[in-house]
Symmetry: C2
Subunit: 168 residues, 2 copies
């Protein structure tokens, strides 16, 4: 793909796209949670063909017509997201901190395929930081929810903050 | 400016920017109307510095902080708009028809510095066509308003559609 097309998509991502990470409750998962990486581009349904063009260029992901006048092109999973970041990174000018943080999270996910609860929580805290960069407000699952869940399951020892009080 | 920066801005324009033309009622103007060409980029006020970066790159226009959480960067006037189009045109991939139509309007404006009412109306009709490309809904002044105004002032002879009726 030509450099200027990659740069165009990088500019497009700034306006009509988003990189994000989610902490998703998964009962079938060893730790009960998964970390989901996504890149998403949004358009009015009238411009669906624009998302088709993007998908053709980036080669991964799927398009949904949400029937509410909006369609989106989703690239889900850290391997696909990493692929897209690798294509666009050299051309991203604004919001570069998103790219850096996303790479940090993805690298930690790659290094720890079977994370311990402690490691998972560490990544979950980076996910919180990433959401703060996005000014995301509709987050229901935070690293705090993960920590509480891990403690309730005995994966982590609860942090007792009232030790001092007790000893008084 | 580097090619990839121009391409990035072209992609950015697709998502967070707009090219538009307006028919503006001007009492001090010979024909009572002016055709205003604009390129505008919009951001949340938190990202004002992004508009500063754009303005530095494009070298024309002004930034307004609208105090309602939105700021915009406006490039007004056909000479400035032409300058920006010339920078971005080679890299625009989507909405190319906007660029073609904008160039057509600007070329007509340049050719006819002191347009006759007939010529002005011709350009005003292209402005209507441009607005249709933008799905613009809040237009109050159309080429039809211009035609009615010109007729009311005697700049144009009213088109009499009832000749046939009269001769019956």
């Amino acid at each position: 793909m030509e450099e200027t097309i990659k740069a165009y998509i990088a500019g497009f991502l700034y306006g009509d796209g988003s990189i994000f990470f989610q902490l998703v409750r998964r009962k079938d998962n060893r730790l009960g949670y998964e970390i989901r990486a996504s890149v998403c581009f949004y358009q009015h349904s009238a411009h669906l063909q624009i998302l088709n063009w993007l998908k053709e260029k980036l080669g991964v992901g799927y398009i949904r017509d949400r029937k509410n006048g909006v369609c989106d092109y989703n690239i889900v999973g850290y391997k696909n997201v990493e692929k897209v970041i690798n294509i666009l990174e050299p051309y991203v000018i604004l919001k570069r901190e998103h790219i850096e943080k996303a790479k940090q999270i993805i690298n930690m996910m790659k290094k720890t395929k079977k994370p311990t609860p402690e490691n998972f929580l560490k990544i979950a805290r980076l996910v919180d930081e990433f959401s703060a960069l996005n000014f995301s407000k509709k987050k229901t699952q935070t690293s705090e929810s993960v920590r509480e869940f891990f403690e309730s399951k005995g994966f982590l020892t609860p942090v007792t903050t009232d030790v001092t009080t007790k000893s008084l």
